[in-house]
């Protein structure tokens, strides 16, 4: 028999930290159980498409099991749109298979290169959170390999504690093998959308308040401008179009070719994204749209996944990698405070996104809660960036907000516990299903969610 374990370099999307560790790659669900049984007593964590940014899907001194090849679609009901798939099926796979039938995933993040398992583990949200909630809200049942080696069926009625703790549980309750969820019915690939320029943060909130009629909202926000123009940006709002679109409603080949056009890896350099280029990009982006309001029809790819057309865009930040900071706060003043802190720190964020969440909140370790979320990318400046993030943590925690675990690579355990008051109840469930902590990640250890660190 060939060895199932081999050394591989593993990192999150931000490429900090990255390290070499023993990995297995599952072709079939039984391979995950085999890996768990043969992990040599070391802790293990699943790794899908690697789009969480930090250290959530890696484990130095432990084992990693890659789930990307668990990519079979197992069942689909055309009448209800309910689909059952293996956990390594990606949002891309779902769209390519089901958009021609008139169905779209109920929630999609900013990239289609995420697995269903990862979408559940991070309880991802999308531009429609204010009307549709997060991905976990649409999941009806999962099959999950737990520490005992059993595959457990879990839903809101059956093993409900495990089900709830797994949604947003960052892979620490076991390895999700398959999931059942309902797709949304759509007419075609087009999005009816409007882009509205806003001159500052107050205007963002004003536009947001009159956007209830749109199922999808998100805004790009310039985080390099201070003073009166602080928080200027472009508000994008839209909905799945009822128009089928001219000609072929969906040509996967064209999309696929377009995706191959740009590859960021040859441009990898630490100096490329600096304060000057970031400021120039943000100003150009803001000024690109001349009119106050532009209505247009967009292809879903450019509306939902604009960065996917640049393969490996995370390499643009160079070898040093980058960090993302995403938080949600319940009140506007905290958003202003965060923006003031960032623009004052002189560490420009290349791409910043702002959105208001809806009312749903899944508890446990799930991120979304009512309020405004802001996501920022920073080149890895090292210590000054970590210090800035600590200052932001204070503002966010004081306001009763929290930082998104799927983006996190550095939060302290105390801060985490302040932001996620459900953590103890969550860990009780984790320990019920995994008393000996077979499932651990570097993030879980850092945050005191696994590894028996009860202090």
């Amino acid at each position: 028999m060939t060895d199932i374990w081999a050394e591989r370099e593993v990192s999150g999307w931000g490429r900090v930290p990255r390290a070499t560790m023993l990995c297995a790659r599952a072709d079939h669900p039984r391979d995950v159980a085999a890996a768990l049984a043969a992990r040599g007593g070391e802790p293990m964590i699943a790794h899908g498409l690697g789009r969480s940014y930090g250290d959530a899907a890696m484990m130095r001194g432990g084992r990693v099991v890659f789930t990307r090849r668990l990519d079979r679609m197992l069942a689909f009901d055309e009448a209800s749109g309910v689909v059952r798939v293996e956990a390594g099926v990606s949002v891309e796979d779902l769209i390519l298979a089901f958009l021609p039938r008139g169905f779209f995933p109920p929630v999609v993040p900013g990239t289609w290169f995420v697995t269903v398992g990862g979408a559940i583990a991070a309880d991802i949200h999308g531009k429609n959170h204010h009307v549709a909630g997060s991905f976990g809200d649409h999941v009806r049942a999962i099959d999950i390999l737990v520490a005992s080696g059993d595959v457990v069926h879990a839903s809101r009625d059956e093993n409900a504690d495990l089900f709830a703790a797994t949604i947003g549980g960052m892979g620490l309750t076991g390895v999700i093998l398959s999931a059942e969820f309902a797709m949304e019915r759509v007419a075609g690939p087009l999005i009816d959308m409007e882009s509205i320029k806003f001159e500052n943060l107050d205007e963002y909130f004003a536009v947001n308040a009159e956007s209830d009629a749109f199922s999808h909202t998100v805004s790009w926000i310039d985080c390099t401008t201070r003073g009166d123009a602080m928080g200027r940006g472009i508000y994008m709002r839209g909905r799945h179009s009822s128009v089928l679109g001219a000609g072929d409603p969906f040509d996967a080949g064209v999309v696929d070719d377009a995706m191959k056009l740009v590859n960021a890896r040859p441009f990898e350099a630490n100096w490329l994204l600096n304060g000057l280029s970031i400021r120039a990009f943000n100003t150009a982006y803001f000024n690109k749209q001349l009119k106050k309001r532009v209505a247009a029809q967009a292809h879903f790819k450019s509306f939902f996944f604009p960065l996917d057309s640049v393969r490996g865009w995370n390499h643009l930040y160079g070898d040093r990698g980058f960090m993302q900071y995403q938080m949600v706060v319940p009140d506007r003043e905290a958003v202003r405070e965060v923006l003031t802190e960032i623009t004052g720190a002189g560490m420009a964020s290349f791409l910043a996104v702002i959105k208001d969440f809806g009312a749903t909140c899944n508890g446990g370790l799930s991120f979304p809660r009512p309020g405004t979320t802001l996501a920022l990318d920073f080149p890895n400046h090292g210590a000054p960036l970590l210090a800035l993030m600590e200052r932001l943590d204070r503002i966010v925690a004081t306001a009763g907000g929290r930082v998104y675990l799927a983006k996190d690579a550095r939060m302290s355990r105390d801060t985490f516990r302040e932001m996620y008051p459900d953590w103890e109840a969550w860990r009780d469930v984790k320990e019920r299903w995994d008393p000996n902590h077979h499932f651990q990640s570097e993030q879980g250890l850092r945050l005191g969610l696994c590894g028996g660190a009860s202090s």
Partner: protein, 245 residues
């Protein structure tokens, strides 16, 4: 139109099935493990909207091959392509020490493959068309200390396919011998090598293209033809002293 894959739960087999399903072929997925083959069948039917059938078959269960294949053929119609992708490397040291282990490796890779091919050949002669694709290995090109039990079975399979091609040519049936180098599958996961590994998807596309062109023998990745040309050219008095792999 239908394409049959023997060894469908291997990643190259699954990639071939997806490749042909995307082009409208109904698919027959043959494998030992029903549950995994059925997951792949559901997936192919959903993604590509073709029919996908499961044929549970063990390569070493020679007595059962003919009846099982004929029964499936009766319901699935003409067979355009039939690819044998399965294989079992076994464990060289285990095969040296235990003749039953060696016999198993030979039975999976050679005897079983021959049995399936003969049944397919009879069907395709009757049809007057079809392609048999035998996935052999570069390991069958020259014996090596580290894997010669497996290598000899694959070498015998290569020779068998050559004879079969010779016989079936006048019946309008093609036979393609595929010699795979390193493909990124479970077999090579832990393999440390400076040579690049091809993806299963690229391998499948290359195999399907070679079938379309009516090729007889192909190496994939292609550069393996050069590597094996050199290895085959080394005179035996020198070769026997070398430690290759």
């Amino acid at each position: 139109m239908s394409a049959w894959i023997f060894g469908a739960t291997s990643r190259v087999g699954e990639a071939l099935a997806r490749h042909w399903a995307q082009r409208g072929y109904d698919i027959v997925l043959s494998a030992r493990r029903r549950e995994e083959a059925e997951a792949i069948a559901s997936d192919i039917a959903l993604r590509f909207r073709v029919r996908a059938h499961v044929l549970v078959l063990d390569a070493t269960d020679i007595d059962g091959h003919e009846a099982a294949i004929l029964a499936m053929a009766a319901s699935s119609g003409a067979i355009d392509h039939a690819a044998l992708v399965f294989g079992d490397m076994g464990d060289q040291e285990g095969s040296q020490a235990d003749s039953a282990a060696a016999a198993h490796v030979i039975n999976v890779n050679y005897t079983g493959a021959v049995s399936i091919c003969e049944t397919l050949a009879a069907l395709m002669i009757e049809q007057g068309s079809g392609n048999i694709i035998g996935v052999s290995s570069v390991a069958g090109d020259r014996g090596r200390a580290s894997n010669y039990i497996y290598g000899s079975a694959k070498g015998a399979f290569t020779l068998y396919l050559q004879g079969l091609r010779n016989r079936l040519h006048e019946h309008g049936v093609g036979v393609l011998t595929v010699k795979l180098g390193f493909v990124d599958t479970r077999m090579t996961w832990a393999l440390q090598s400076g040579l690049p590994k091809a993806t299963p998807e690229a391998s499948a596309a290359a195999i399907a293209a070679a079938v379309e062109r009516g090729e007889n023998v192909m190496y994939y990745p292609r550069f393996w033809a050069g590597i094996m040309g050199i290895i085959r050219a080394i005179p035996e008095p020198i070769y026997k002293r070398l430690k290759i792999g």
